[in-house]
């Protein structure tokens, strides 16, 4: 049985198609990374899987329960860490843990033991009695991870768990997830728009873009999918980028070419040999080449290969016409 299974999920918001036929099968015990830029539909997918919104069409099963017909079953099987910080600021860490444990019908003794164990694991035992308002962003995130695990769910779902955290807190969260992943045969589904995160944590990675899964494999498998082994970046000036792209693409050892402002991102075989030839080609068109770098492939290159553009950080944000800032939180970040 699969931990999570979806079939042709579609979600439309008016004219906008946020999810455009997503089919996924995530085996039990897997750590599955969903990688995509902002606005790709990650949060939308997570919200459908966690019964918060309904799909326009398609089917999804989580822990064997249908997300539309067996909501209660889904809800007790999953632990979720939503994208936005969702812990009440005017409660203490201990209170949050206890209150949530009660939502799942856990007895007093069990609650105390589990809360204690989890708070120690996430390093918040000393601060458990303090109001959450006094926590840092990283502490709050760790608490929310602990909260998501309080009822021993079989599936843990995290939506951009390290978004907005400083690099150090991000590391801490990664290590924490590594630790939880090893015990309990926990299935983890996490979304991210950080390449390193997907690479570091996931057994399998799916790349999502414009609501569609454009690639799905192990990290290794995805890297192998790109025929060219190297990535070259050429920063140029004094030339139309479309023209530059065309010129570079014509070279026999060049695979895909993406454009990011004044930089050409090129997957290429045997990059070291290709550098002089490509630079000459561009110069022949009167272009100036201001910078050349060559590196080994990363997941980022995989993303570029499949989507034709790098992951950007910018964000689709909507504001209600009637209420101004009253609404956008619904869209996540």
């Amino acid at each position: 049985m699969y931990a999570i299974e979806t079939e042709n999920l579609v979600k439309k918001y008016g004219g906008l198609t946020a999810l455009d036929g997503v089919t996924l099968k995530i085996p039990e015990g897997d750590c599955f990374g969903l990688l995509g830029p902002n606005g790709a539909g990650k949060t939308t997918l997570i919200r459908i899987l966690t019964t918060l919104i309904r799909p326009t069409s398609g089917m999804a099963k989580v822990a064997g329960f249908d997300v539309l017909k067996e909501k209660a079953g889904v809800r007790s099987a999953i632990g979720v860490v939503p994208q936005a910080m969702t812990s009440d600021l005017d409660l203490t860490g201990l209170e949050i843990m206890d209150i949530y444990a009660r939502f799942y019908g856990m007895g007093k003794k069990e609650r105390r033991e589990r809360t204690d164990e989890l708070l120690s694991m996430v390093g918040l035992r000393e601060r458990a009695g303090d109001l959450i308002a006094t926590y840092s962003g990283g502490m709050r995130r760790r608490l929310e991870i602990a909260r998501g695990l309080v009822h021993r769910p079989s599936i843990l779902i995290l939506d951009e768990p390290t978004i907005g955290l400083d690099p150090q807190s991000r590391r801490v969260v990664w290590e924490l997830l590594e630790k939880f992943r090893k015990g309990d045969n926990l299935t983890i589904l996490l979304t991210t728009h950080y390449m390193e995160e997907a690479e570091y944590l996931s057994d399998h990675v799916a790349i999502i873009d414009y609501g569609r899964i454009v690639a799905l494999d192990t990290v290794e498998g995805l890297k192998k999918a790109i025929p060219q082994k190297d990535t070259m970046e050429l920063t140029v000036s004094n030339i139309d980028m479309a023209k530059a792209r065309e010129a570079v693409s014509a070279h026999p050892s060049v695979g895909s070419v993406a454009v990011n402002e004044a930089t050409l991102i090129i997957s290429v075989d045997n990059g070291a040999n290709a550098i002089p030839e490509l630079v000459d080609k561009l110069r022949a068109l009167n272009a100036k080449v201001t910078r050349v770098t060559l590196k080994e492939q990363t997941l980022e290159d995989v993303f570029i290969h499949f989507t034709g553009r790098p992951i950007r950080e910018e964000e689709a944000r909507k504001v209600s016409f009637l209420l101004g800032a009253g609404v956008p939180r619904q869209w996540g970040k």
Partner: protein
């Protein structure tokens, strides 16, 4: 059961963590009492009235005695003897006097003869309430049984606009207390219960609750229960304090039964308003909308409830609203229990209405609440 109790406990903890809100919830209605008592109702007292005696006979003495009795007893007026009619009229126009009584020459003679004896009363009709008060007080004072022949001829001085005076010393009207208690219930209902949903939604916290096995009714019942508990306590404290500052010692006035009945009325009123708030706020996501709706609804429910002016004085359309306004029944029941020593029989109609309203409101509120993003 455990789930709904967890919600209840969460809310209570959050509420107590806001001591300022707790204090304000109690203080503000009591301040309302002071302000409403001073600005609206309350009998007017010590209205200065000039008397010009142009008769100087025994009849005039008799009138003066009656006026002095009015001054000493109900203290409605303060009598000032003035010798010049011209000066008195000028002072009336200036607003120094609220009325001028003229005892004309020959008044004693007419009185002795048994023919129609008249005294003149000049009023400042720019201030209608004070004028009406002076007029009725003086008319009552000089029209003893057997003395019907003394009539008051009312003459109105020309209207003149000038700033309306504010009276310093007026007793708080005790009959406002039920209204103030209802006001406290309204404020409580507006800032607890359903309001927590709006805040959770605004802060983005509600998502994490919707991810758990909590059902719609766990959430609504939990929030209503916490709101009910908090608001009932506030209302009882407000009842106690506002009675105290207006000189009522509840523990002397009320029997245990009377108090329990009042408590029941408070609980039913609170429950109804909590449910109503869910109907209104069940889908809102911005506290500012709650602020604006709350201010509006407070007035809409409060003034037509009879808390300040009797509903009998309303035009038909407003009366129709008063009939479906739950606060009307709360005010009526509390007033009857507090001041008329009424028993269950006298308030069972009110309580039945409140109970039905509460049940319907909670059902509608649960339906209106959206347990989804």
């Amino acid at each position: 059961m455990n789930r709904f109790k967890a919600i209840l406990e969460r809310d209570l903890r959050k509420f107590i963590r806001n001591p300022l809100v707790v204090a304000m919830s109690v203080l503000m209605p009591v301040i309302y009492l002071v302000i409403l008592g001073n600005s609206f109702q309350g009998e007017l007292k010590r209205l200065p009235v000039a008397v010009v005696d142009q008769d100087k006979g025994p009849g005039a003495e008799w009138v003066m005695e009656r006026l002095s009795a009015l001054e000493a007893g109900p203290r409605t007026v303060e009598v000032i003897r003035v010798s010049s009619q011209g000066f008195a009229m000028e002072a009336l126009r200036e607003g120094v006097f609220k009325g001028v009584v003229i005892i004309p020459p020959g008044f004693s003679r007419d009185l002795a003869r048994g023919s129609l004896a008249e005294i003149g009363l000049f009023l400042d009709n720019a201030e209608t309430i004070a004028a009406a008060t002076v007029q009725s007080a003086i008319a009552r004072a000089v029209s003893e049984p057997g003395m019907e022949f003394v009539s008051v001829r009312e003459e109105r001085a020309g209207a003149r606009l000038r700033p309306i005076e504010i009276y310093g010393k007026i007793d708080y009207d005790q009959t406002l207390i039920p209204g103030v208690v209802i006001m406290a219930i309204f404020l409580g209902a507006m800032t607890t219960g359903a309001f927590n949903i709006v805040m959770d939604r605004f802060l983005g916290v509600e998502e994490s609750y919707f991810l758990t096995p909590l059902t719609k009714s766990d959430i609504v019942v939990g929030l209503v229960a916490s709101g009910l508990l908090i608001t009932t306590i506030i209302a009882v404290v407000v009842l106690f304090f506002s009675s105290l500052i207006s000189g009522i010692y509840l523990w002397r006035l009320l029997t245990i039964d009377g108090f329990l009945l009042m408590l029941a009325v408070i609980v039913l009123s609170t429950l109804g308003l909590q449910g109503l708030m869910f109907v209104i706020m069940g889908r809102l996501n911005h506290p500012r909308i709650v602020g604006i709706l709350g201010g509006f609804m407070n007035v809409i429910f409060f003034f037509p409830s009879g808390a300040i002016y009797p509903t009998e004085s309303f035009p038909a359309w407003l009366k129709a609203f008063a009939i479906v306004n739950p606060e009307t029944y709360s005010v009526h029941a509390l007033r009857a229990l507090m001041f008329k020593g009424a028993g269950f029989g006298a308030v069972k109609g009110d309580m039945a209405f409140l109970a039905v309203f509460a049940v319907l409101a909670v059902i509608a509120g649960t339906a209106a609440f959206k347990r989804e993003l």
